[in-house]
């Protein structure tokens, strides 16, 4: 893997300093009233999860559609650069950038909730898991969106459904289908960390990340296997 696409994504992100500052400040400003204002843990954690997941999904969908419209994405594909590598490099670049941009907000949330060591150690993989999933969801949304506005709408709707399935908005009855789905969705660990962090307690048992990680790996493999079709759909004109 040449990492050319990964490197250029980072280079562009670092060059756009105003956007970078905006992407760091906005989540901090959004979570600050909740984290510092004593919002109920359950409501606060749901809000955090929605914010972080939408941040990752939009951050993947919108640039993909913009680059499809302005042309460089098509040029990369026509250069013969392997599509699976393009997807993987792009997703990893997007995830790591999102991670660093959301880190200050995450620190504020967990710091204000006086989270224990177990929460702090769990937050890194949980956040990475959620953001990589969100970036992949963003890729698929871009493939099925005909415009940027449609992409934003689809990303929001799909993310809210997945967050709902992850138990962010309700707790499914134990043993139900909903509970089983919740166990495997990669947004669940992030919500659990937020909940524990906001309550200032250790994460509850049963939030083992393995099922969610396995699902994410399958999702990543499917996305790379179908990378050619997905990127063709995104970059072809007319879309």
């Amino acid at each position: 893997m040449s990492l050319a696409v990964f490197a250029v994504e980072w280079r562009i992100a670092l060059r756009r300093r105003r956007l970078m500052a905006f992407n760091v400040a906005t989540p901090v400003l959004l979570v600050a009233p909740l984290a510092l204002g004593g919002a109920p843990a359950y409501h606060a954690s749901a809000t955090y999860a929605v914010l972080f997941v939408l941040f990752g999904t939009f951050g993947s969908t919108i640039p993909l559609l913009r680059e499809a419209d302005t042309g460089p994405l098509r040029r990369i594909i026509l250069s013969g650069f392997p599509e699976p590598a393009l997807v993987v490099e792009r997703m990893i670049a997007g995830t790591t950038l999102d991670f660093l941009q959301l880190l200050p907000a995450m620190v504020l949330v967990l710091g204000a909730g006086r989270a224990g060591v177990t929460v702090w150690t769990a937050v890194v993989p949980a956040l990475f898991l959620a953001l990589l999933t969100a970036n992949l969801v963003g890729l698929w949304v871009a493939a099925f969106a005909a415009s940027m506005a449609e992409g934003a709408l689809l990303a929001a709707v799909l993310s809210l459904f997945l967050l709902h399935g992850s138990g962010v908005f309700r707790t499914p009855a134990p043993g139900s289908l909903g509970a089983q789905i919740e166990m495997i969705l990669p947004y669940r660990p992030l919500h659990e960390v937020f909940l524990a962090g906001a309550q200032g307690v250790a994460p509850q048992g049963g939030w083992d990340m393995l099922p969610a990680t396995a699902v994410l790996v399958l999702f990543l493999l499917a996305s790379t296997a179908l990378s050619s079709s997905l990127l063709e759909r995104i970059s072809a004109t007319p879309r």
Binding site: S2, V8, I12
Partner: protein, 344 residues
């Protein structure tokens, strides 16, 4: 033979190739032609004639909906990832990451191909100098003018020395130095055994560098002939344009013109027609001459005798652009000399 072209044989071979858009509109074809090593072929034709569609097909940006296509001795079907690094395609509009500098952009786009192909790429600084981009190497692409971005796109395309060059309207926005640099680079590629297909309506540039002309009209190949042969066909077709002060009286229609002034009876004057003057405000009389500018004195005498005030006279030798008139039928001076488009 260049290392990148593989064994000898046509680098482009299209057989009954066509493309139909999803709407059902035919974008191209069916067309059949081949381009061999060392050839520079220029596709010309009116807007919408299928030039860009042809180049997109050759760049594997589109897939033929009918017929077959072979590039660099490989049939285009299934995955084309292996082929793509060896095709240098510059689309009709520059497409870049706006926040990279010019040098970073070249490094990135040229690097993508180089990393797959392992060849070439040592000529970036020479190309920067030739295209006059040295001073803007560290300037973000977003701050470059259209012409500079166009040059940058060409440098990115040429930097890896691809065996097959596909350039869509490459001279649009280029200054003379840029056009010259492009011309040299294309010739150098052809001399190394590569091939170039250039879509353009810059017939002067095409006349300078093309070995062969593909004239497209309504998605079909109307003419596929060596440049020298086409220019030979056009020989002896001098155009004399006489612009007049104001407009002719309404009754001076074509028949009337012919009968009143009998301009067509002037020796060497083959056809006479009326046109809009170069400034768009008056009228002009356009005479097709088979004897160069020889009929001019007699033509002027007859017009002046009629009391018509002449503001400008221009004698134009035949050029490739005259093919447009011949093929598209407006005006019809050359249509008798040229074949009809091939039919499916």
């Amino acid at each position: 033979m260049d290392a990148g072209t593989g064994r000898l044989g046509p680098l482009i071979l299209a057989e009954g190739m066509g493309y139909r858009y999803r709407s059902g509109r035919t974008g191209l074809g069916p067309v059949s032609f081949s381009v061999g090593p060392g050839e520079i072929v220029t596709a010309i034709g009116p807007n919408g004639s299928g030039k860009s569609t042809l180049l997109r097909l050759l760049a594997t940006d589109l897939r033929p909906t009918v017929g077959s296509l072979s590039l660099l001795n490989e049939r285009v079907r299934g995955s084309v990832r292996r082929l793509r690094p060896r095709i240098g395609y510059a689309p009709d509009s520059p497409r870049h990451f706006a926040h990279l500098t010019a040098r970073e952009s070249v490094r990135f786009f040229a690097g993508l191909r180089r990393s797959r192909d392992g060849r070439g790429g040592a000529c970036v600084s020479e190309l920067f100098a030739a295209f006059g981009l040295e001073e803007v190497g560290d300037v973000p692409v977003s701050e470059l003018s259209f012409g500079m971005r166009r040059k940058l796109l060409l440098v990115e395309t040429l930097a890896v020395r691809p065996p097959l060059l596909l350039l869509d309207e490459p001279t649009v926005g280029l200054d003379p130095a840029g056009t010259r640099a492009l011309e040299e680079a294309v010739r150098e590629r052809a001399a190394a055994g590569g091939a170039a297909m250039i879509a353009t309506n810059d017939t002067r540039a095409a006349s300078r560098w093309a070995h062969r002309i593909l004239f497209l009209h309504r998605g079909l190949i109307a003419i596929d002939a060596p440049l020298a042969e086409l220019l030979h066909r056009l020989e002896g077709k001098t155009t004399i344009e006489i612009e007049i002060d104001g407009t002719l009286r309404p009754d001076y229609d074509r028949e009337r013109t012919r009968s009143t002034w009998e301009l067509e009876t002037v020796p060497g004057a083959e056809s006479v027609r009326r046109a809009v003057s170069s400034d768009g405000r008056g009228e002009a009389i356009v005479v097709q001459s088979t004897r160069g500018s020889a009929p001019l004195p007699e033509l002027l005498t007859r017009l002046l005798t009629e009391g018509i005030s002449i503001t400008r006279v221009r004698v134009r030798e035949p050029e490739l652009g005259d093919l447009f008139h011949g093929v598209t039928g407006e005006p019809p001076e050359l249509s008798a000399d040229l074949p009809s488009p091939e039919r499916p």
